[in-house]
């Protein structure tokens, strides 16, 4: 049988393997966390007014999404480095595990790490920028969750495609950022409206949320379709 242990079990095997490795050396979370904290601090020094004037919601939204994009890139690059070391990817691909399950497992691992760092960035942003994060926690979690899922869905394919490329770190950003432009635009616009200290425009927020759901669905379907040929180097 091609998937003797079941599709879902394979997803969790691959994801839990990535998270176990991360638990052992904490390399990705440390790098992502350090970068994200530094980024929030720099933006805080640049934008926070000592007079105590409130920041525009666009700035906080921008900080959250810049954090998502750049820390996500770090996670995507490193998680595939581990596959390349000692040619583990070859043994993984040789197993009868369906490639789609391997893709979803890698995706799940990256999403978990990105969400962990997003949580820290969001709390820090709330603290430094006095953003109304607590008031709209569920909506904000939805926006960032959908953004993370969509970004990681494309990023896992791009990072997998570049697994044997020497200049992968540079190429990931160059290839990935243009692809996720619609996702970022929708996310930043929606988050910005959500964090507006005056009454948020709920109609637009719902629209951007639905837009993100559609983009995520398209990215996931494309990812499932494209992962096998790109990871096989065909």
């Amino acid at each position: 049988m091609l998937a003797p242990n079941g599709f879902v079990k394979t997803i969790f095997l691959v994801a839990s393997k990535d998270l176990r490795i991360e638990w052992r050396n904490r390399e990705i979370t440390a790098t992502m966390g350090f970068f994200s904290v530094l980024m929030v601090l720099i933006f805080a020094f640049a934008f926070v007014n000592p007079a105590g004037d409130g920041l525009k919601s666009e700035v906080t939204a921008g900080v959250l999404w810049v954090g998502l994009l750049f820390s996500g890139t770090i996670a995507l690059a490193r998680t595939f480095d581990r596959e390349r070391d000692l040619e583990a990817i070859r043994a993984l691909l040789l197993s009868p595990a369906p490639r789609a399950a391997i893709y979803l497992g890698k995706l799940l691992g990256v999403v978990f790490l990105m969400l962990l760092v997003q949580l820290a960035v969001t709390l820090l942003s709330g603290l430094f920028f006095s953003a109304s994060i607590g008031q709209h926690a569920v909506w904000l979690a939805l926006f960032l969750g959908l953004g993370t899922l969509g970004y990681a869905a494309v990023g896992t394919v791009v990072s997998g495609a570049l697994i044997r490329s020497k200049s992968r770190d540079a190429l990931i950003a160059a290839l990935l950022f243009p692809l996720v432009t619609p996702l970022v635009m929708a996310g930043v616009r929606g988050t910005s409206m959500l964090l507006n200290p005056e009454t948020p425009d709920m109609e637009s927020i719902v629209f951007w949320t639905e837009f993100l759901v559609v983009v995520d669905a398209v990215f996931l379907i494309l990812g499932l379709w494209a992962f096998e040929p790109v990871i096989s180097g065909e």
Partner: protein
């Protein structure tokens, strides 16, 4: 599928990468209970052929059959393939136990890592220490353990003795013989003619992507014999 009876058969297999023809019309048969050596100069297509046999590379032309079953990236029969490369194919940040449990899970096998480590002479190692801290020889032993987890009928080796010390290479030769005795199809791609010569039952030599020699060996070869056949067939020095 009977492990003892099914042959691995290539029929006019070819592979092109862009305009480069890496393999051209290769037809060959590999039998169970035999060690088949695949030799050839650099760029002859050995690794491409092994990648195709492992179903990791899709052939541009031709078919591969194991018994009556067509082998390919989605064929159920690929679960019958074990592979040991010059890199061990393991997660360096995980220990031996975690690696074996992971790959056992992917093949749907409940494994007892302790027993498996004993089989490959690694019962003395710390099974929780990251695999990257193991010596090269220990990594190759663990790679073989990983490849044998699911009792494969077809066992492929790509330069398995590269960077192994003499003791490690000798251990590997013993393992190849054991796998032949177990009735597996054992295929070894190597440049180490001296090591593979006395073990070889069937010799395949590739030259510029084409099959230059594919025949059984009827007597025990020495490294000198094999070097002579190789030089005569390829025109290359060893």
């Amino acid at each position: 599928m009977s492990l003892a009876s099914a042959e691995l058969q290539l029929d006019l297999v070819g592979k092109t990468f862009g305009r480069h023809r890496a393999l051209v019309g290769v037809s060959a048969v590999f039998s169970p209970g035999k060690i088949s050596a695949i030799l050839g100069p650099n760029g002859a297509g050995k690794s491409t052929l092994l990648g195709i046999l492992a179903t990791l590379v899709r052939p541009s032309t031709g078919t591969i059959r194991w018994g009556n079953e067509l082998l390919g990236p989605t064929a159920p029969g690929r679960a019958a393939i074990g592979y040991v490369g010059h890199e061990p194919g393991l997660y360096g940040d995980l220990g031996a136990f975690d690696n074996l449990k992971l790959f056992g899970g992917l093949y749907g096998k409940a494994v007892d890592p302790k027993v498996i480590l004993e089989k490959v002479g690694l019962s003395h190692v710390d099974p929780l220490a990251p695999v990257r801290t193991y010596s090269r020889g220990m990594q190759q032993r663990l790679a073989l353990a990983r490849a044998l987890l699911h009792e494969p009928a077809i066992l492929l080796f790509d330069e398995p003795s590269a960077a192994l010390d003499p003791a490690g290479a000798s251990w590997l030769s013993e393992q190849l013989v054991l796998q032949r005795q177990a009735g597996r199809i054992v295929i070894v791609v190597t440049h180490d003619l001296d090591a593979v010569a006395p073990l070889t039952d069937h010799l395949t030599i590739l030259r510029r992507g084409r099959l230059a020699h594919h025949a059984p060996i009827t007597t025990t070869l020495t490294g000198v014999d094999l070097r002579r056949i190789y030089t005569e067939t390829t025109g290359a020095c060893t």
